[in-house]
Subunit: 216 residues, 2 copies
DNA sequence: TAGATTGTTAATCGATTAACAATC
DNA sequence: TAGATTGTTAATCGATTAACAATC
């Protein structure tokens, strides 16, 4: 039933919602596409097309209703029922991720963490119960978890992904700097910090040298 | 002089190099485009075009030389001189980022950290000296830093970015869940974990329901 | 040589941008 | 009404994929 919407549009909708939430807190009731566009760093036409794709309509005179639009995006993006998330790897990065998402989205909450370290297993860290890797299939199944976050070292990532997928997980957020092999019915989003930093370093250098050239 | 290469190609080159490094450690001397392609999760034609874009040639019979290719990518991606990186925000996420990059790329190293917390200022955390925000312009300039990482709360991100840019930074890796406004000669790469997780949750749900439909 | 792989050009694809009639 | 904004289609753009002669 939901029309096929591109990955990028989904990402932008998530951003729009966050901006709308701030606007609503600031007491704004209406907004035009170009206002949201400026805040999000995209074009007004882009915003209109994205909103059109989820079937939300504005008015030529009043623009979009901030509250209604936020709720519309929520109905489109969010699951009607709560979605639990599994976190694998409770090292520095894993704990930072826990802290980052704590209390942020009640409907999309980390409900179980997994680690090999016996010292962490069975403890509650950042309000999340920590299990051993062996318990993963059972916990994922009993909690009905569809989403997993991988914050393990590169060597452990593929095996952790395999276990999650076998247990029924259909989406992975992968922080390990290694490409995962998963069945086509599993969605993977990679956050490769090494790659990102190298890109930034490359283009920063390029911009800096362009600046030098301009002074000639 | 370096031909214009797309952002995506730069990212893939960074990944190729990492994979080549592993292959070299495994004792491999040559490889064909389709081998690298499979490891990286892209097509062989993609690999060939990416390598062509940095001017590296293979042989129709022996493929590519693992060592030479790795070095070629390095010469293209890396700065001839060391590039120092500034990290702003030494909270949970900031410390995780420090730990993640510690010792990973000697040429691209976090050389200074900044935080408002007086307890952290002037201490050495994960081997990196921590300064106050007031010292940022001076430290960035004296260290010749071109790259900044923002690991601060959303409300503090724009002001930190402004200060970094004024001090001469030309590339930002932004972990704060907020779009930054920067001059056109500054490159920004966003790592928006909230957006990424919401995307994964959305598509995980979609895949799961597709699976259900198939059983009908 | 025969054959698989390479460098490189042409065709395809998808998303973005531009344009504009419809609307309040 | 007049006018700015909307929904929607057509034109543009860039990157990916397919194809193939050149090569070792």
């Amino acid at each position: 039933m939901p029309a096929t919407v591109s990955e990028k549009t989904i990402g932008r909708l998530s951003l729009y919602r966050r901006l709308l939430y701030e606007l609503r807190n600031a007491g704004e009731e209406n907004l035009y596409s170009h206002q949201l566009a400026q805040m999000a760093g995209v074009t007004a036409a882009q915003v209109r097309r994205d909103l059109m794709s989820i079937g939300y309509s504005g008015s030529p005179t009043r623009g979009y209703d901030v509250r209604e639009l936020g709720e519309s995006i929520g109905r489109f993006l969010d699951s009607p029922t709560d979605q639990g998330v599994a976190l694998v790897g409770v090292g520095n990065l894993g704990r930072a991720i826990m802290a980052f998402f704590a209390g942020r989205r009640p409907h999309l909450r980390i409900v179980a963490a997994f680690d090999t370290d016996p010292y962490k297993v069975n403890r509650v860290i950042q309000g999340v119960r920590c299990y051993s890797l062996e318990q993963m299939p059972q916990v994922v199944e009993s909690e009905g978890i569809q989403v997993g976050i991988l914050a393990v070292p590169a060597v452990a990532a593929q095996s952790a992904a395999d276990t999650l997928v076998r247990a029924g997980v259909r989406g992975l957020l992968n922080f390990a700097p290694v490409p995962l092999r998963v069945p086509p019915d599993v969605y993977v989003e990679d956050i490769d910090m090494t790659m990102s930093l190298e890109k930034v370093a490359y283009f920063a250098r390029q911009r800096a040298s362009q600046k030098e050239l301009q002074t000639w």
